[in-house]
Subunit: 410 residues, 4 copies
């Protein structure tokens, strides 16, 4: 078995683990070093560092301080990596921690993060998903089970100072355009809860003050939440600093395209077995600005779908110009409405869209004024027939179970 | 063989065919009638009614009057169909016309329609694609050939007066917010070039004045340009008028997600063999607002992809809030840049994205402020290895061939 | 559209068509000539030349003179092809004849050909399958419909005199080991019903006397009945004579691995659109003795199967040594028995195995004394759930319809 | 994590582990008990109990005493299981032992077991395969690597006395027809090396004298070596004794259809995470004689193949009647010959066929006198292009590495 270069103890605070960090900054020291061609294992916390519990209350989802996320394992230094190279990462395998055979999915309160459909689901809710080998199901959502398309939500290399400055300028400037918005337009650096890995004292404080938050995907990859970046994938990352500095975390047992529920996919602690290599000068050779990747040869092959369309006219009938975001929201709302006819609550249906291997396609994006987006719901994840027929839908879900909900504190 | 209920003669003007129309209006008379359970064939013009020629000039793409599109075959009346029903349509097969074994793809001039990347490709360009049974290739784009994922770009039922009014109010109001924009925000009704099928005289003129243009996808489906709505699919359409009034056209031999080139996918004339059936009261039973569908069991299974990421920061470095449109544009530009390293012109690369079975996924849409979109380029369509490796790219395309370009008339 | 080099008139006897033949012999003149790189269309009769009718009697299956089969279109001469080359054939598309939208499947009487399970199904039976675009179903077998994996059962190049002699020596010698067997061990040349294409008079008679029957697959390919050699495939055929002499026929709309019913798959008349090219000296370069091929990128992707196992102990409990034939027969019998629990007659079940895209795998072939074969029954072809569950099977097939059967004449 | 009910210590002799056995007999006591609905983990030895080493000599393959195989973990008793039930087994996951990240493949000497192509490969040879997460490669076979289709070669329930008697009668009688054959026709019970689990003393000796060897697949399943019975599969086993008595072993990291190399697939020690349930009286309800199963939704999806044909004429030109075994052997020999053109030794090519996810199809089995079998070689497992083209093959494999070979002792 390859060496485990970073271990995490789920009983210990992530802040006490020097090989973990929750901000992007070139000054974060390498947690460990490897050579091109090496393969090794990194353990990771779940993105919240264990804040969300396996219980039947959404209070933790409501109360979490989102400035603490995401706890990443790394950075891993790669000998010989230089700015302009491509770091080739093979995700040889990804797994769960033996002692933690469950994950969570939820919706944040509109007061604390919100989500894609936060106008429709304004309060904190949560579902717990149990792992059974390759498969998962939830006691909060009957009638559905599926094989996980396991992947890291967040992976990428350290930015250099210039790239970091670009990020900060761009996002702080953006926040300034609408500073009081709830949820906010973006998240500015925030030193108090920054975990800068091995960096200590004044150096830590200086870096923490400008360390980029880990929430958005950016040029380096980062929090892309691409469900298909699954075990077996091969990724080509831009390198900005000597040693590359690869970090990974925010593992998902499964996720739908868009990660629309935002309090994650099926969020889990676990480990990643990866191999690294270099393409010297690869950024210029291949004209690479963002990471590119090749998908895994071994992923769940559900191929019977029920496909919902949405156009860029919003719920209020308002026209938007070729807006795929609006179109996808309509496709999602259409799918939720449909699933309620089989007995699901709207919250259960929303959670299915966030967790199952749902595809979201940009189907048409030029037919003014309407974009068309499609949501592909795999029918084989349901243990009943969810296709339409002449006799109409049967209410298969009759258990009365629903997702726990926690109202906002007043 | 089933009856061909609508025939088109490619030598004849589409305006002279009474079973063809190019606007949506409830007053358009049924072109023919069928019963639930019937299967039948409809022939169709290409969307421009034959305006674009198989030659090596883009003048026709530059000069086309876009108010004439799309020429649809129908409406087909279905006995017993009533508002609130779902019309179940099986696309049993779709094919080309024996006498027209080619299709076209192009980019409109920014002065005449534009497209997804019109800032980057402001002038009219065109490529011609030859059909070889299931496969296609283009003399303007070497090194690539693929099996067609053949489908109608446009299909749907007639709106009722109330829905039509909603469309017109919504879109005319939208145009009014920026009336001088080029390309425009939307297309208002335009009587002079309206083809209202069998409707003649004053009734024709009245309907033509408010007939909705066929460009955007809307609640009824319409110009969705969903590449996966291919032969073998089963679609459930909302019915708004007695008899349903199903029309179809704008056939594509193949298309990438988004139809980003806008002067189409690989546009073709052809025929559709379909079967219709009804789910009485299905709209309410299943909570249907837009069409839903099930994909075909028989489609090209290219499954090795090179996947490009894009985030919602535009080419100028400007931040956009969770804007999937911007993110997908970046993914497309990244793919184009990459392909140039193998010898393609940017126009050739753009055309490949518009025509090949490229997937566009809404990968992450909650990680503020950046949406993440991915563009999936199937590697098996190239007759050389397009994956990155340590030795760098090889310029395989060295023929000097490129897409014809026509500058705007002055 | 490419030229149709061979046309067949289904109202005319195949014997009257000079571009058709039903024996393999190097003296058969080329029916037409093409150049490497050409693509063209060949029409074909069904394998029996139209003997089997679309009706509800199996008398024609019982009474057919099997010495007349298979009626092949060709041979097509390819300029420049020489012995030792590989002829590269792209099956660009395959289709049905517009005027004949149906095919047949049947079991021969044990007295006239028999079949894989002739001990269990000793009498002539037949089912008729209607084509609906890409799909087929049968009035004789309710509850099942599927997309066709359309392919030629028989395709290959003319043998040279030496190869022909090898075949005749081998097979005539083999028949001599058990000359009175019913069904026979093999079929010897038989001049009276031979159709030698353009060859006439004494030359015809001489060749007919030694022309190899078309029933078995041989070194050149021939009647391989490989269901995956479908439209979109690329095949590399050994060339034995100048001009190659490619012939094709015995089209199948769909077939299960093994073509176990023998009176065919779903047998049809139709056309093949193909392209030819050469690899000069390819047989030696690649060490080719039998054809090799690459499968189509566009085939039905049913992927949920119920898999039945069989071992090489026969129905009587008799042990056979690593005999895959016996093992596959047991797997087939197991599948038939299983399907009867849902209401199918044994004949209907047998016919499903012969016609649907069933896979037959050689699973284990070294674990003495038992071979293990598996039969993969696609579950998605049934319009009900055919998987086992705790409540036991439901008899979905209750119509009382069955396959017509004709007892042997006495 | 579920309980590990059977642990194996790879440093300890399998004979010392009471929860392991290597014969089938109803008297073997249950190693442990579970309830329907339970999920649990069983660890297993490799099939030889660790006899084959990770080195560069084939002496161990030559010298192994094959009467010791296969070491199975179990039997697991299932409360409530009775004869006539179906035991439903979900293979939730399968994995390797952390301390043993490699497996072996080999050919037995013709003097000691032989194999499918033993006439062509008469001496002991071996290759070692290293595991890298989901993937494997071998230092003895350059240019090839692939994702494992991991599965148990051997799994099934205990026979009852009557079934055991049937087996013994059948196989001992069969051996008697050719008692001196090398390799033998079958393996008779053999007490000295029998490991009867917890059974001790006289009871052990009595049972050992009639305990069926584990080599062949039989009615209960057993050593089926079905590569597709992979993790994620659901299997329905016949139950013959109270408690069912499920045993499993002979794990394979990957295997080609037929397991033609016989000294295994890629043989490994590991663990199986499974869940059990019951269908009461299921054997009669569903007419089950052999196990049936549903494949996994998550397996490697290599889908580009080079397909080789074989017919039932053997290497000496001898005709065999519809003999799939002979036909598959020819297809294998054709593939081996082909691979040598790219630089592989014949032994390397043979090993690839035994280990990679190669498909073996029974393509045609009625076209007298020739069966047609096809071998599907996935092209995506090679790190070079192995398809034919006009310029001829390139010798990519030039390292001079080959499989270790050990001549027979004299």
């Amino acid at each position: 078995m390859p060496d485990t270069l970073i271990k995490v103890d789920l009983e210990q605070s992530a802040y006490d683990n020097e090989q973990v960090h929750n901000r992007w900054h070139p000054d974060i020291p390498m947690a460990c070093w490897v050579k091109p061609g090496d393969d090794f294992v990194l353990e990771t916390y779940d993105w919240t560092g264990g804040f969300i519990k396996n219980d039947d209350s959404a209070d933790d989802v409501r109360d979490i301080d989102l400035s603490i996320v995401h706890f990443l394992s790394g950075p891993v230094g790669v000998h010989g990596a230089e700015p302009g190279d491509l770091l080739v990462v093979d995700l040889l395998d990804i797994g769960t921690k033996a002692e933690r055979q469950w994950g969570f999915n939820g919706f944040f309160s509109k007061q604390n993060g919100g989500g894609f459909l936060t106008e429709h689901f304004p309060y904190a809710q949560k579902s717990i998903w149990d792992f059974h080998g390759l498969f998962t199901d939830s006691r909060h959502i009957p009638g559905v089970s599926f094989a996980g398309l396991i992947h890291p939500g967040l992976i990428g290399c350290l930015p250099d100072p210039k790239l970091l400055e670009t990020w900060n300028d761009r996002e702080i400037g953006f926040i300034a355009t609408q500073p009081d918005r709830v949820p906010p337009l973006a998240n500015a650096p925030f030193a108090p809860t920054a975990h800068m890995g091995k960096l200590q004292g004044a150096a830590r404080d200086t870096a923490a003050a400008t360390g980029a938050r880990t929430v958005p995907p950016r040029e380096h990859g980062g929090n892309c939440d691409i469900k298909d970046l699954s075990r077996g994938s091969k990724i080509y990352f831009p390198v900005y600093v000597d040693g590359a500095g690869l970090s990974v975390g925010d593992l998902h047992f499964s996720q739908g395209d868009g990660e629309i529920t935002f309090c994650g996919a099926i969020e889990m602690a676990g480990w990643v077995h990866m191999k690294v290599d270099l393409i010297k000068g690869g950024m210029a050779k291949y004209g690479i600005r963002n990471p590119i990747f090749k998908p895994s040869p071994i992923t769940p092959h559900y191929n019977d779908y029920l496909i919902f369309e949405g156009i860029s006219v919003d719920e209020a009938g308002q026209q938007h110009y070729l807006d795929v975001h609006v179109a996808y929201r309509q496709a999602c709302l259409n799918a939720i409405e449909y699933m309620t006819k089989f007995g699901y609550s709207r919250a259960q249906a929303y959670s299915i869209l966030g967790t199952a291997p749902v595809q979201g396609h940009i189907s048409g994006v030029v037919d003014i004024p309407n974009a068309c987006a499609t949501l592909w719901l795999p029918t084989q994840i349901f243990n009943f027939d969810i296709s339409p027929n002449a006799s109409g839908p049967v209410k298969h879900i009759t258990s009365g179970v629903d997702l726990p909900l926690s109202l906002d504190r007043v």
